[in-house]
């Protein structure tokens, strides 16, 4: 049976796009992050009857951010459950459901509200397998938007990447692209351990090129594996979630000035793909981390510490610099909010400082 050259190319690009850069994929379609998450949920619910979704407004409202659009209509009350506004209670219920034989996807409308339920995420879910010496497992997914949005104020803008990724027993992912969103959410749902999926509200509407493979029903991404979005030889930029976009924008601008940045999209925060970072730093000799969360005990801090403790340290030509959110609660006023979140010029400035160029 003859296979067309185009199909071979698409196949190849599908493979390539998984391990290298999404922008290199010979793409078939565009997919928003929202639709990627939606199809991930739909496909996993279709595949496994024990998978169900619960959270505020996920059913009849189609989801506060429309991530679960159409699911209630398709699967009904049993599998898409609207909860009251009681995070502590419903997160606990989700954990119990996971212990009792189901695979719940527990949505927090934003991760800010997960603070009310964090005892269940950490104490009831993440520690149980260990405390029981492996008798009771908790196959649960906690998902929802994380971090800064736009104009939502201090109580609705916190990034929980550090808090959750600190906890052994949890797996934590932070998707950037549609491919990330779909592949990581599907992997999270299939995973027998508790997984926290930190999405980003501002990315929901963003379209990305995706290959046919991404669109397939069995497309999963491995947890704990970062991806090099853009290759470069002068400096490594490591980011997760929306900060990847920021790093890529800075990289594009810098390329115009002859500086080639290697941009690593972490995808997972726990486990953190130290190997990919170290390999890159050994190649480029310079590192800047980029994140939207607060600086103290942030993801950048962890990356820096790990690089310093690794063989890559001896290859560094400059100290590691972190680009982070400003160390204040998020203000509302537009210009202040913009100033509190790293912008491309912040990354460019950091890169130039590190490379000692003007």
């Amino acid at each position: 049976m003859a296979i067309s050259a185009t199909r071979i190319a698409k196949r190849l690009s599908g493979v390539l796009s998984q391990s290298f850069s999404t922008s290199r994929a010979a793409t078939a379609s565009q997919l928003t992050v929202r639709d990627a998450l939606n199809s991930a949920l739909d496909e996993e619910m279709e595949r496994d009857e024990t998978v169900f979704l619960m959270g505020e407004e996920v059913a009849q409202y189609d989801g506060a951010y429309k991530i679960s659009r159409g699911l209630w209509k398709k699967y009904g009350d049993k599998r898409v459950i609207d909860t009251p506004i009681t995070e502590s209670g419903f997160a606990g219920i989700a954990v119990g459901a996971a212990m009792g034989g189901l695979r719940p996807v527990c949505e927090f409308m934003t991760f800010n509200f997960s603070m009310q339920a964090i005892d269940h995420v950490v104490n009831s879910a993440s520690k149980t397998f260990y405390m029981s010496a492996g008798l009771i497992h908790v196959p649960i997914v906690f998902r929802g938007p994380n971090g800064a949005a736009a104009g939502v104020g201090a109580q609705h803008s916190q990034c929980f990447a550090s808090w959750y990724s600190q906890c052994p027993g949890l797996k934590v992912v932070s998707p950037y692209s549609s491919e990330d969103a779909k592949g990581l959410l599907k992997a999270a749902i299939r995973d027998p351990d508790p997984v926290v999926v930190l999405e980003n509200e501002l990315l929901y509407g963003t379209s990305f090129d995706v290959s046919d493979e991404v669109l397939s029903k069995d497309f999963v991404l491995p947890l704990g594996k970062a991806v090099v979005e853009r290759e470069g030889q002068h400096i490594t930029l490591v980011a997760h979630s929306r900060a990847v976009m920021l790093a890529l924008e800075a990289a594009t601008a810098l390329a115009g000035e002859g500086v080639e940045c290697e941009v690593i999209n972490l995808r997972s925060l726990r486990p953190l793909d130290e190997e990919t970072i170290v390999k890159s730093v050994i190649k480029t000799h310079n590192l800047v981390t980029v994140e939207q969360g607060w600086p103290q005990c942030g993801i950048g801090s962890e990356i820096c510490a790990r690089v310093v403790e690794s063989p890559a340290y001896h290859y560094l030509e400059s100290p590691v610099i972190r680009v982070t959110g400003v160390d204040v609660p998020m203000p509302y006023a537009k210009s202040l909010e913009i100033a509190c979140i790293p912008q491309p010029h912040d990354v460019i400035k950091a890169v130039k400082k590190v490379l000692k160029i003007k």
């Binding site: 024990t50 169900f52 049993k78 459950i81 909860t83 009251p84 009681t86 502590s88 209670g89 419903f90 997160a91 606990g92 219920i93 989700a94 954990v95 119990g96 459901a97 996971a98 212990m99 009792g100 034989g101 189901l102 695979r103 005892d119 269940h120 104490n123 009831s124 149980t128 397998f129 260990y130 405390m131 029981s132 010496a133 492996g134 008798l135 009771i136 497992h137 196959p139 052994p168 027993g169 797996k171 995973d191 027998p192 351990d193 491995p222 947890l223 704990g224 997972s268 486990p271 403790e309």
Partner: protein, 411 residues
């Protein structure tokens, strides 16, 4: 000042004893059975007893006013309660010898609850409780050796010594939970799984009078009622949340009514058969799609809140003695079953000796068994580990993650 102290303590005493004593002053509880069956070799094969009166909230029909107890059940319940009593007593001694560390919350006095509940449960039912879980671990299937060895943190422990007193688990028993109140919504979640999977099971979620004021309980009641979950929420009211008596912690101490729109039952927790009948009723209720129930089981704990609490600064020794002498669940049951000719005193004495021996053996093992190898601290953090190394105290000596266990709830 001394007279005031005595006055306060006497008031407390009478309040507590009144809470525990189910009857009106004229104690109408029937000691003797009113119906017996065939006699065989000096004992009968079964006897019928009256249960202690129940108090109802938003329910018309109470659980059964009678309970048939077979000879086998009589021997079983007695043995189970004695084992738990002995186990807890041994734990107390081990703790004082520093063979048990950290937290140790003893169940002595409350035995009739876990034995009575388990007597009614079927294989598809689940239980979840808080940290006063040794008795529950036992009735749900953990061996005496595994419980004691878990307390001393050794290899033969329920969780290989990795959990400790508050974290014992087995199939359909979800612990053993250290955070007050957290187990209640989790229990409602297990009930959700039962309903979803249509396995006919219910989940019994226990908590104390202290936890009864936690907000997440009300969140759990709400959702359980909305979704008609087969959940039985049980407050083991022993009169004190640590050192705080119920009157000082709760604006309403009618815990069986605290579910408001969720119907409730108050039960005398010192009578194992009353507890059993109540749970049978609950199973019937919950499995016919009527939704959750809130139970309050009145009981008493002889020891302090935990081994760090002598348990005498907030109650009098007289009060504790009073309950031991007049309301002890094992003593009461013993009187029942001997009085009904279900068993002989000698038979029970034999059980006592066997129990003592079994527990003594278990203590010996618990003291001499080894701890797991240090490397095993990196075992079973994940069911499906992504990384194989786990960072140690420095980056120079990482551990290797290993999978060892047979998962009890694999799905």
């Amino acid at each position: 000042l001394l007279r005031d102290e005595i006055k306060i303590k006497t008031e407390m005493l009478s309040k507590i004893v009144r809470a525990v004593v189910t009857q009106s002053q004229s104690n109408k509880r029937a000691l003797a059975p009113f119906m017996t069956s065939v006699r065989r070799g000096g004992t009968v094969t079964e006897a019928t007893f009256q249960t202690q009166p129940y108090k109802l909230h938003r329910l018309d029909e109470p659980p059964s006013t009678t309970s048939i107890c077979s000879r086998d059940d009589a021997l079983l319940f007695y043995r189970q309660m004695q084992i738990i009593r002995r186990l807890e007593s041994a734990s107390s001694n081990l703790y004082k010898e520093k063979a048990i560390r950290g937290f140790c919350h003893l169940y002595s006095g409350q035995e009739a609850i876990c034995v009575g509940v388990k007597a009614a449960l079927r294989s598809q039912d689940s239980v979840i409780t808080a940290y006063r879980d040794h008795g529950w671990a036992y009735v749900m299937g953990c061996s005496i050796v595994s419980i004691m060895a878990e307390l001393t943190g050794r290899t033969q422990g329920v969780a290989r010594g990795k959990g400790g007193s508050m974290h014992m688990y087995t199939k359909n028993f979800y612990g053993g939970n250290g955070i007050v109140g957290a187990q209640v919504p989790v229990g409602a979640g297990v009930a959700l799984a039962n309903k979803y999977l249509e396995n006919g099971g219910i989940c019994v979620a226990l908590y104390g009078d202290g936890a009864a004021n936690q907000g997440q309980l009300y969140e759990a009641y709400n959702m359980a009622k909305l979704m008609s979950l087969p959940a039985v929420f049980i407050c083991e009211n022993n009169g004190y949340g640590m050192g705080t008596s119920v009157d000082r912690a709760s604006a309403s101490t009618n815990y069986y009514t605290r579910g408001d729109y969720v119907p409730g039952i108050w039960i005398d927790g010192m009578d194992v058969l009353s507890v059993r009948e109540a749970i049978r009723y609950c199973i019937d209720y919950c499995t016919s799609g009527k939704g959750p129930l809130v139970l309050e089981v009145a009981t008493y704990r002889y020891h302090g809140h935990s081994m760090s609490d002598p348990g005498t600064s907030y109650r009098t020794r007289d009060e504790i003695q009073e309950v031991r002498q007049t309301r002890d669940p094992i003593m009461l049951f013993k009187d029942h079953i001997i009085g009904a000719d279900l068993v002989t005193a000698d038979e029970l004495k034999k059980i006592d000796n066997e129990v003592r021996k079994e527990v003594d053996e278990a203590v010996k093992i618990a003291k001499t068994d080894k701890e797991i190898a240090v490397q095993e601290l990196a075992t079973d953090v994940y069911l499906n580990p992504v990384e194989t190394t786990i960072r140690g105290t420095t980056p120079f000596d990482p551990y290797t993650h290993r999978r060892l266990s047979k998962v009890a709830n694999l799905h």
